[in-house]
Symmetry: D2
Subunit: 235 residues, 4 copies
């Protein structure tokens, strides 16, 4: 592959160290993919593209313009899934209630007070009837949710991941998806974060250990090689 998002941040020597230790091979793809669009709600992108420092005045959890660029890359990916009839699932954050604080309320108290419209899905890539909505309260979309039960019911073997934040819910979800033995593809230009460095390093970590990380155009090309639409597992 040519230039990677972490080049210049992870040194060449460190990249060689991972090569020497045997990390970073491809996990391959299966034949029944599903798309996870994680937390793409106005609370993480803002109601319109704005520079980061302006965006966080609207929602403290907003990632600003970089988020909208990622949404743009989700559009053709989602279109491919729609066209093929492959499943699309939307792990997302539901509005917080007072008894749900736990450790999150301690670490990031601002998260407990987001305006209601912040929880709406971003229109450009919003769910439509038949999609699976997965409300979640923790970083991983698998933790304390029925996500894995849905994926088993759908007969999915490969997950394509888009959304945010790269260093938070995307990373947590990818680690669990790997542990469940799904093949995982992360669309590096369709995930976003509030930190450029943390975004890049988390892509590097995932690429070395848990997932195949690639531009969305490459993922679309790779998925196009799958023969038939995903089938129900039923008899």
């Amino acid at each position: 592959m040519s230039k990677r998002p972490w080049d210049g941040i992870i040194s060449e020597e460190e990249q060689r160290a991972y090569r020497a230790a045997g990390f970073g091979r491809s996990g391959g793809i299966g034949t029944r993919p599903a798309l996870l669009i994680i937390d793409v709600q106005y609370r993480t992108v803002g109601t319109r593209p704005m520079p980061f420092w302006e965006a966080i005045r609207e929602f403290p959890t907003s990632c600003g313009e970089t988020a909208w660029a990622a949404v743009g890359h989700m559009v053709p990916l989602l279109a491919q899934f729609r066209q093929k009839g492959w499943p699309v699932l939307y792990p997302h954050v539901a509005p917080k209630v007072a008894t749900e604080g736990g450790r999150l309320a301690a670490k990031v108290p601002a998260i407990m007070n987001i305006a209601a419209n912040g929880y709406d899905f971003v229109a450009e890539v919003a769910p439509r009837e038949g999609d699976v909505l997965i409300p979640k309260k923790h970083p991983s979309a698998f933790f304390a949710t029925p996500l894995v039960s849905h994926l088993i019911d759908l007969g999915v073997d490969t997950l394509v991941v888009a959304g945010c934040s790269t260093s938070g819910c995307v990373r947590g979800t990818v680690v669990d998806a790997f542990a469940y033995n799904f093949r995982v593809l992360v669309a590096e230009d369709a995930v976003y974060d509030r930190s450029v460095v943390s975004h890049a390093v988390n892509l590097f970590d995932m690429s070395e250990k848990y997932a195949d990380v690639a531009p969305s155009a490459d993922i679309i090309a790779r998925l196009a090689t799958i023969g038939a639409p995903a089938q129900s597992t039923g008899a």
Copy 2:
């Protein structure tokens, strides 16, 4: 706090962005701590301190001298837990068998062929009778293991985390511990990794979102304020 491990890697502006968004408050500590020593086996440190490039010739998963420095910081932390009678648990990697490959064998095939002595615990901080051993097959020490059942049985409310790798099993375990609502303290000088940058950025991510990250000496001082030894939850 004074200098942080990620200063110079995460820019000042990005750090200010997290402050402005409300991340990174302290999660506090409870009254019944347990210590997790994760994957501190010769396969991750080498049989003696060696430079990284020499160390990976012994075990491809070795982190070299930096790992031994971290072991040195674990010693007084472990001594405090021994002296107080607090629980110590050892999530660790058991030797791989052929049917267990799954996605791991695809991403990091070298991991399937480590010499048997690589799985021994490092003597300086090895388990003793009464400690809980948690063999694991996935990054998080909670995934597909009885770790949470043990912690509930022990009445633990706070986890102190040491071991490796910062960007792999430590990070995965901390994210899950946070989701389970344990208070989490990461000893920044007692966790180690093969990448300096990834180590620092993962400490930053955990500090902003999931855990209190501090030098082991600070953690020892903080734990010393807890009055009594942890008690069994039983009647």
Copy 3:
């Protein structure tokens, strides 16, 4: 103990067999109890006490008069928890949406079409502000829910279980609670089922292997021996 709910259903010889094999000892109680009131919604009791065959014409999932008798036994148990300030949690069934069918829709299709008022909590033992609501989609209240995270946050070590059905969600929840190492008390007269025999045998199974099963009055007396209200685990 005097007469048990399963006497006359499980033969004396079989009961002796369990004694001889060493089953059925007491699991004891801890010091920080929580009450789980499972699925006590009009869909399982009917809008008023009715004989079973009449009740299922209102809601096919109704258990009829026997359910209302159990609700009567929950009232003093709940009052004790209110008075002591101990946590009360309400695992319950949320209205079904079409994409959530999975295996349940295949085994019990009638469950997919319950009228909306069937999902309301039964007023006599309904939640109040500050209680934790746990919507669930599977038999066990722990499966794919944040229940265990809440219990860890609350520092709970003992669960008292009421609700329905004895052979379904109560049983599934108790098996998981046992596996998580909580001490479990089942209030035998405050759980209910559509089958007298299955109710009794499931109480027997739980008593022998997973929980202490006793009349609610006995449980109230036992809990009254706990000194102080449950405390938050925080520092």
Copy 4:
């Protein structure tokens, strides 16, 4: 279906009640089955067929002659899976160590002291190279084990369950398998228990709510209709 194992134990009226409420439809089968042989170790059957009261003098957890009859029914089922090349997995109990007691040691203390040969697999249906061994510590074979990760890696959609005890680990595993959205078939003559009544009622419960329960010969006939061997999910 003709006579069911629970006829005469669950009354006709109660069976009609479940029919009226809409329970007990077939869950169907998929195309990629796996066989779970649960806890078929000498500790649950005895080293040879013996009457129950004699058998428990050898191992308190033994179920006696009825267990050996079930083993006999497993043999042709296992032969079908071997012939088709379908996956076979062995959830089983590993020898207990002192720190693992938890609630189990309280409820069934005899379980902590079983002779080592009791943990050997029963030769007639023992695992062979390539089978997946799943050591477990809790009733459900899914709880705190990588079972679901293995099933996802194998692309399994249907589980056939044999072993013991019907009211313990079989029941717990079936409830979780249902929640994960696997199709579940319980071989009623290839599962066993120490209580005749509890065995029958648990079969009834599973049949009404979670699984298709049938004689092993019927299951073999049904599986024979599946066209091709299960395939790896890989690309």
